[in-house]
């Protein structure tokens, strides 16, 4: 409708119109809206078409709220004092002209002319200063018996007009708050009456709106999206709202926040950002994954949109596998995981993909010491946006510096990752999203051993707003991961080793909102296809025997329903149940064991075979979620969370190794699904005029059917893993403290966690009880963990961050002594995990320099520079033992053992 239509055209419109029915009524809140957008919105709502000259309405902003207002009245309001006139014809067309209303010459007998002469508009002060305006929402006659009313609308960006997902709408008296969804939609239920709402963009910009809530209504808000994305510390749905948020143990980080953290070699690393949150630790610097509340790394579900990412890192954990420009935000659920997620015991890390903007094609990128990235996004036609990004390394030059050391001349590190996301708005109610992610690593550090792995994820979803209250989404996705080692140490035992895993997923998610309830329900089906491991000879001379573990196929179905329920002003609950059915399918072959006896070679009683697609084993059971929040006062709340979880897929890992070589395995006849239960309570409070948020959470977890391994077990390529795996119970507990300051020039957080993570061989019959059946620390039991982040913003263009991390050294099983026994030299090891490697302590510093902020500049640039491990402390990442001249020697290896300076140039266009 931006097009200009000549009035002449109008004259020839064969208007077989009938008598005008002026019963069309409009509701909505139009805030600071350019006239053409207002028109679009009315057109959509009413089906009427507008005809006008764009130049006539230039600069006209619409600023009003309507509740069931006749279109004519509304337009009269809008056009008052503008010198514009309108005519509505019988064909549902609205004609807007300057100076005087048009006359439809042919119309006399056929349609009634709508003609309104509007009195000059009075300057009511409402237009320019929306902040001071009071918006009357709804009508008192609606639901007069209800004390509450629901306000909904869309938050969008002033600059780009695109919806602003993650924007926070908060009312600061009772701290009722909500977060805009991915379409920028929000809905908040408040007491009727006057309120001040604050709408906060992800960039940190806050905009107040005064409302007088009389009934249900709509208020669309446009707020600036901060151009200075690097200078604001804001949580997308975190800090401001922790007190009020119903869910406990959820931590959100905006990508801007992650970007300010000091990075290793300038690489912005989402996973490292997650480590600043209490309750999350990592077993080492260069390790894949992280541990949440005493759970192993495979107990975290890492989602990029709807895709499960099996390996979230490059080069064994040196770099995060996610391109920070392709991520819009990160949310970690570590307590009561939302009911629509399941299948992992510890946590869900939801990484929200970035989608393209609608206005223009632009991009961003960065050039660092070891890697560079580039992404481009923008519209593809009127209703489609795209974003593509890629990142690659050229770190070989660093390795080349070592070329003079001939032993290392074979080193090579190559990796890249890419994303491509599309969003297509079919119409106002339907949209399609396609997200994709791929990564590939190939590296070797000597000519003998090459490692390679790749991720490939694709997801397509269709979202539909079925009604104002009901929203649905169907997602189809495929996730795959593949790992290989090529060992060419000597021609005789050269080998290729590898494993892979793929899953196909179909899920539906529905969300139904009422005044007091927020219902989530849906279905999830996953098919797993997995090759647990193969080894084959490499080259003609190799005498390695070809070994291939049987492929595994499984399926998992879950139905879930959850309700978030606002009981009273102070009390809110959520309940959820998720029922999961898991089946392992043939072909498969299993040994059978004597009843009630441990799974040992001595107790093998026979063998069973299963044909293709025959059900080998079924496990099923519910996952329960319960959460409650009680507001003590306006500034503090108590929360409770209870949850049970199930997990059918296991990561087998050999912890005695320096490098993580893990492989995935499905639950089978003998390896049961891991079960977990967690209870947590928390106290949340804001102090100093809400500028500082303090919280403490206590948790207790119990886990069953975890895997540990008996003495001397070989984990890789083990055909009868049940004989070497020990059914293990786990227990963890801890207290988490967080102080976070979100405002002012000095911002930051202090997170301290005291927690323990213990394992114990279960009471099931087993050939061995680790540490004589006593509880022992898990591989990632690090009782003390402290992370302090402080950011000082000297000016809008210069800010500096200090990061401090401390944690107890992780447990280790040490070879303690040697002895002769049975005619050979043997090694005496201490009890499992009886000792610890030295404590971990590190300080990093970073400085971010922004270029000028002129909006119309061709490209916005910034520099990030800093020093990682400022003190140069050699924090052991790994301790390992190798025989050296007949004697076992221990080494501790520190990855980043000296201060590592970095500089990265970032740009946006």
């Amino acid at each position: 409708m931006k097009c200009v239509l000549a009035i002449v055209v109008l004259l020839f419109c064969g208007l077989g119109a009938v008598a005008q029915q002026d019963s069309v009524r409009v509701s909505g809140i139009y805030r600071e809206m350019p006239f053409f957008r207002f028109v679009q919105s009315i057109e959509f709502e009413t089906g009427y078409r507008f005809v006008f000259r764009e130049s006539d309405t230039q600069g006209l902003m619409v600023n009003l709220q309507a509740q069931d207002v006749e279109l004519r009245t509304l337009l009269g309001q809008v056009l008052a004092g503008t010198g514009l006139f309108f005519v509505i014809d019988g064909d549902r067309k609205v004609w807007i002209t300057k100076g005087k209303p048009i006359t439809l010459g042919f119309s006399t007998g056929y349609f009634e002319l709508q003609f309104d002469s509007i009195p000059p508009r009075t300057e009511d002060g409402l237009g320019a200063f929306a902040k001071n305006q009071v918006f009357a929402i709804g009508r008192e006659t609606d639901n007069p018996e209800s004390k509450k009313a629901t306000l909904s609308g869309i938050v969008s960006s002033v600059e780009y007009g695109k919806p602003m997902p993650g924007a926070v709408v908060v009312e600061k008296v009772n701290f009722t708050q909500t977060v805009a969804d991915r379409e920028g939609r929000y809905s908040i239920t408040l007491d009727k009456g006057r309120h001040t709402l604050y709408v906060q963009s992800i960039g940190g910009y806050q905009e107040p709106r005064h409302i007088d809530l009389k009934g249900d209504g709509i208020l669309n808000v446009e707020i600036p999206e901060s151009v200075l994305s690097l200078d604001e510390v804001v949580v997308s749905s975190g800090a401001l709202s922790q007190v009020n948020k119903l869910e406990m143990g959820v931590q959100s980080l905006s990508i801007a926040e992650v970007k300010r953290l000091p990075a290793v070699m300038g690489e912005v690393d989402i996973l490292r950002g997650i480590l600043t949150v209490p309750g999350v630790n990592t077993a080492g610097e260069a390790t894949v994954g992280f541990n949440v509340r005493g759970g192993s790394a495979d107990q975290n579900l890492i989602l990029y949109g709807a895709s499960t990412v099996f390996n979230p890192s490059h080069v064994f954990g040196f770099f995060s596998a996610f391109n920070s420009d392709m991520v819009s935000g990160v949310e970690l659920h570590k307590s009561t995981v939302p009911v629509n997620y399941g299948g992992r015991l510890s946590s869900v890390l939801a990484i929200e993909p970035q989608f393209g903007r609608k206005e223009k094609i632009g991009g961003s990128g960065g050039i660092g010491i070891l890697t560079s990235r580039l992404s481009v996004d923008g519209p593809l036609g009127e209703n489609t946006t795209f974003v593509v990004g890629a990142r690659g390394t050229y770190s070989n030059w660093a390795l080349d510096l070592l070329e003079e050391n001939a032993e290392l001349s074979g080193s090579q590190v190559n990796f890249y990752d890419w994303n491509a996301n599309l969003r297509h708005q079919i119409n106002e109610k339907n949209s399609l999203e396609l997200t994709s992610y791929g990564s590939r690593d190939q590296f070797r550090f000597d000519p003998d051993t090459s490692y390679s792995y790749k991720n490939l994820n694709l997801a397509l979803s269709w979202r539909r707003y079925i009604s104002e209250r009901l929203e649905g989404k169907i997602t189809l996705s495929r996730d795959a991961y593949e790992f290989n080692i090529e060992g060419l140490d000597n021609p005789l035992n050269s080998f290729d080793y590898g494993f892979d895993i793929a899953q196909l997923q179909l899920r539906t998610d529905f969300e139904y909102r009422t005044e007091k309830h927020l219902l989530d329900f849906g279905f999830q089906g996953i098919q797993y296809l997995l090759n647990p491991g193969h080894m084959s000879p490499h080259g003609a001379e190799s005498i390695v025997t070809d070994r291939q573990l049987d492929r595994e196929e499984g399926r998992e179905f879950s139905l879930f329903i959850g309700d978030e329920f606002q009981w009273t002003d102070r009390l809110a609950f959520n309940f959820g149940v998720r029922y999961m059915l898991y089946q392992l399918l043939g072909p498969a072959q299993f040994k059978t064991y004597a009843e009630g006896m441990p799974y040992s070679p001595g107790n093998v009683s026979g063998e069973v075979d299963f044909g293709p697609r025959e059900v080998v084993q079924t496990y099923h059971g519910p996952e329960l979620r319960f959460g409650g929040r009680y507001l003590l006062d306006k500034k503090s709340s108590l929360k409770l969370g209870l949850s049970t979880m199930r997990q059918n897929i296991h990561l087998l890992s050999n912890s005695s190794v320096i490098t993580p070589t893990d492989s995935w395995k499905l639950s089978d006849r003998y390896l049961k699904p891991q079960l977990g239960q967690q209870a947590s309570v928390g106290y949340f409070r804001t102090i100093f005029k809400n500028s500082v948020e303090v919280s403490t959470e206590f948790f207790y977890r119990e886990m069953e059917n975890l895997l540990d391994y008996r003495s001397g077990a070989s984990i890789i390529l083990n055909e009868h893993l049940e004989q070497d795996a020990l059914n293990t119970d786990g227990k963890s507990y801890g207290a988490e403290f967080l102080i976070k300051k979100n405002m002012g020039n000095l911002r930051g957080s202090l997170a301290y966690t005291y927690s323990r993570s213990l394992l114990k061989t279960s009471d099931e019959p087993s050939v061995e009880k680790i540490n004589k059946g006593k509880a022992y620390p898990s591989n990632f039991d690090q009782p003390h963990n402290l992370v302090v982040v402080a950011n000082y913003e000297a000016t809008k263009r210069i800010n500096t961050t200090v990061n401090l991390s401390y944690s107890t050294g992780r447990p280790i099983t040490l070879p303690a002594a040697e002895f002769d026994y049975g005619g050979s030299e043997r090694v005496y090891y201490t009890d499992r995990n009886a000792y610890r490697i030295p404590d971990y302590f590190r300080i990093d510093l970073s400085l971010n320099l922004e270029g000028s902020h002129k909006v119309d500049k061709l490209a916005h640039s910034s520099w990030s520079l800093g020093v990682y491990n400022l003190l140069g402390r050699s924090n052991p990442y790994s301790v390992y033992f190798v025989p050296d001249q007949g004697q076992l020697r221990g080494y501790q290896l520190s990855i980043f053992a000296r201060p590592i300076p970095y500089v990265t140039y970032n740009f946006r266009f």
């Binding site: 005619g823 076992l888 501790q892 980043f896 590592i900």
Partner: protein, 382 residues
């Protein structure tokens, strides 16, 4: 493989750093008593070995083996009868008593003021070895045994000791006698061209009879001799000892078998935590390594002559660089050539029918006593 992983980090030594790691371990973990023994209950002399673990960290690690000497060791029956073991030195304690096989016993050790006691031990009567034999194929000779479990005895441990006769590369009956300066013919007790060498195998062979039909462990491989191995160059003998184990003992030995210093690679096994059935009296949680068993050790010996496996090529691996010196040493050169003992007369040089001198060779190419004993063992059957 392991090298590759180490390099992974070496390479990152732009940033990375590898330093020796020497943990501070409690004394209890550094010096642990080890107890090893399968005591025969029929009076056949059997030995118990007591030793200490030794440090692996730091320098000056001391001798390879640290026996625990001076212990008082006895077996005590549930009725209170004591059957002492005799200290035979170097940490070995000999047991040679015929004891009641129905009873239950505890092993008691008094050492350095500390008392150690085993769990209750029940003698296990092993079934005899039914058969011992060998088979030759293109991969060499495999020695096997066949045995049968019983209702009470299902788990077996086999160990074996091999003895073989061998000759050096150069068979020489000559000896240089420095006192006369002459080369003489060796007396029978001086011969150095046929020796006997005994190898104690460190292999632990375990099997459970209940894995097999009717409890028969049929042709269980004990050891394999690959083609060209010196062991079959002349005559070979193997003594296989069969010990019946309780399920707990079998588990202990299985863990011990997997215990290895091959750690640090992706295919390496998990560290094995070894304990056993002996504990310290005053501190039962203190580690003591070892599983003591009582029972009747069944033994079978077998001989294999080279003619039984012929053709058998001896690849003389131990003598691969042995050559005769080119020159002939005549009487005037004996002292100079043989006086130091480095070179031995290896071959006589005849002219017509009289010896004019000797070709010499390195001692190790002539003298088999450097690698074995020239005394024929008592059990040896030619």
């Amino acid at each position: 493989m392991r090298k590759g992983i180490v390099f992974l980090f070496l390479v990152l030594s732009l940033f990375a750093c590898k330093e020796p790691f020497e943990p501070e371990l409690s004394e209890a973990n550094l010096r642990v008593l080890t107890v090893e023994g399968y005591l025969d209950t029929e009076g056949k002399p059997s030995e118990l070995y007591l030793g200490y673990t030794r440090r692996i960290y730091g320098d000056n690690l001391g001798p390879g083996s640290t026996p625990a000497v001076g212990a008082e060791v006895f077996l005590e029956s549930s009725e209170g009868n004591r059957y002492p073991l005799v200290d035979v030195g170097d940490g070995f304690y000999q047991f040679a008593q015929d004891i009641e096989e129905e009873g239950s016993y505890r092993l008691k050790i008094l050492l350095e003021g500390e008392g150690y006691t085993s769990e209750s031990l029940h003698p296990l009567i092993s079934t005899p070895i039914e058969d011992i034999g060998f088979e030759k194929d293109e991969r060499g000779v495999e020695v096997y045994i066949t045995t049968k479990g019983s209702g009470t005895v299902e788990d077996f441990l086999w160990t074996f000791t091999e003895t073989y006769a061998f000759s050096p590369k150069f068979v020489s009956p000559y000896i240089y006698r420095p006192e006369t300066g002459e080369v003489d013919t060796r007396r029978p007790e001086e011969t150095i061209y046929l020796c006997f060498r005994t190898l104690n195998s460190s292999d632990l062979i375990l099997e459970t009879s209940s894995n097999f039909d009717e409890g028969v462990i049929f042709k269980k491989p004990i050891t394999r001799i690959i083609p060209g191995d010196e062991r079959l160059s002349t005559r070979y003998s193997i003594l296989v000892s069969q010990m019946a184990l309780s399920p707990e003992a079998a588990e202990f030995w299985e863990t011990m078998r997997k215990n290895t210093d091959d750690i640090g690679t992706i295919f390496s096994p998990m560290p094995s935590n070894i304990t056993g059935n002996v504990s310290k009296d005053l501190d039962p949680s203190a580690p003591v390594i070892g599983f003591v068993s009582l029972g009747v050790i069944q033994e079978r010996r077998m001989f294999i002559g080279v003619q039984e496996v012929s053709p058998w090529v001896n690849n003389l691996e131990a003598y691969y660089d042995c050559e005769l010196d080119a020159d002939t040493v005549s009487a005037s050169g004996f002292e100079e050539r043989f006086g130091t003992g480095v070179k031995f007369p290896a071959m006589a040089v005849f002219v017509e029918s009289s010896i004019i001198g000797y070709r010499s060779a390195l001692r190790r190419c002539v003298d088999c006593t450097l690698r074995g004993s020239n005394v024929k063992p008592d059990f040896w059957e030619d």
